[in-house]
Amino acid sequence: MSIASSVPVLQARGLSRQFGHVRALNQVDFEVFPGEVTALIGDNGAGKSTLVKALSGNLAVDSGSILFDGAEVDMSTPSAVSALGIETVYQDLALAPHLDPVQNMYLGREIPRGGLGGLLGFMKTKEMRAESKVAFDELGATVRSLTSPVGEMSGGQRQAIAIARAVHWASRVVFLDEPTAALGVRQTQNVLETIRRVRDKGIAVVFISHSMPHVMEVADRIQVLRLGTRVANIPAENTSMEELVGLMTGAVVHEQSPKESDR
């Protein structure tokens, strides 16, 4: 089912981060392997989004280290992280509301014109539009206008744009923070399928969702956060929905050291 290798492409060790009196991350270990879909689940406020932000260069942690391909690299800014081939769909999406879907899709990665025009910053607008259309179609997104600002679009349309963008650019890791939350039934199925397709290209996928059926459907490995701590890291086939829900709420406690459960 997975073509996973044994070196994690991204590995976090002992991450902690406190906001005021709230300890959002508390000594979290986390790792993702190429060609594997890792589901990250947990109750509301468990720290999932905070972990994603920390791993995508958007949030400084108080302590802990992050390794990429087994080595420490600069992951302090979003642009450094995307240069490593890591893309993220944030829970709050973070699209530029006044820009259109195509501009959002290519923001920061515009295709320059050839020659002098390109040096001066002119862009291949038509090409970008055509490629975006293909990417949106692939997800079955119902984006009805490619020239309206995304701020005017429906929740699901915006989510589809953000997913299309991340999937299009990721080459090593893609984080999807509740990507299907606003999507229709059909779009959700497309996204789950896309996740599998991306995984099969050897890219590591981190899938955050509150929908246990979806998690069971695509995940190869499941890591559970509870109150800022990882309480489980288990292969998807070895668990059940009941166990996962118990782990998230604290009704079930795994008597395991994180090291033992690794792979």
Binding site: S56, S82, A83, L95, H98, L107, G140, T142, P149, R186
Partner: protein
Amino acid sequence: MSITKPPTETVAIGTLDEPKQGFLQRLVRAQAFQILLVLLVIVLIFSALAPDTFAQWSNFRLIIQNASILAVLGVGMTYIIITAGIDLSIGSVLVFSGVVSAIVMRALGGEGWGTALVGILVAIACGIGWGLLNGFLIAKAKIPPLIVTLGSLGMALGLAQILTGGVDIREVPTVLTTTIGYGNILGTIPTISVIALVVVVLGAIVLHFTRFGLHTYAVGSSELAARRVGVKVDRHLIAVYTLSGGLAGFAGILSLSQFSTTAIAGQSQTNLNVIAAVVIGGTSLFGGVGTIFGTVVGLFIPAVLQNGFVITGVQPFWQQVAVGAVLITAVYIDQVRRTAAMRGSSQSLWRKFVSGGRRG
């Protein structure tokens, strides 16, 4: 869950889309067309009231000439306000650049192009210097733009006064005054206005067609989003403030050419006038929206009003009242027409926000 995968029909993308829009259409639709109509109405009214004096090319020529320097400043300010920033320092930077440039040119002596060229470069360099400082403090030190540029306003003006001892310098190479200041192209078009037009057109092209312009909108639309997708927001903000500073420096040399003096204390209203023009032109102070074309129209509304009132002999005290009232009315009409153009979207708060309506 056993949902049969539905057909992945390619739905609706672009099918309901508007017909493809050219440059002109985009400009017109987007922002500034309505306010242009308001300007035209004002011009028509004054033309009817004073056909022999107001409605003359000679008069329009002067209005255009007098708006040229502000237009150069307006280009930079439009970029800044689109990033949701503000630059109060342009007037002072203009003065400072003019002063330093005048001092350098005086030291070099000479009335020819050699000296003038050095002066122009020095002025632009000074402006860029202040712009860099502003941009750095805003982007890196994270100080609010209002405070930074209020501070550099005072600093640039103070330094200009220290450099001159408060006394204006009046020695400006004659080539500057005769060509840029009062020269004409094609016999009747002021050179200074042609220069301003070039700056405006370049500014508009860069804003609307290049990566740099796109990132300007992105930073203003959502700094967070821009940062997350890897736009170098800090660098971009520095660049935008530097652009504004550089243009203010260039305006400094234009002002020297036109007035043959450094006019140290004479730019106290410039910043507000330019900001007002940008906002009249439909750019939102909350960022993400705006056009250079709108700013230019926004500059002409108060300029034409003032000219028209003086020509039609309105009392000076009443002029202020009338300019204030017409300003508000003009923007209101613009608002109403734009809303109507959106077909009853008067309740769409989002659209209001986008169009800079409610709060910009």
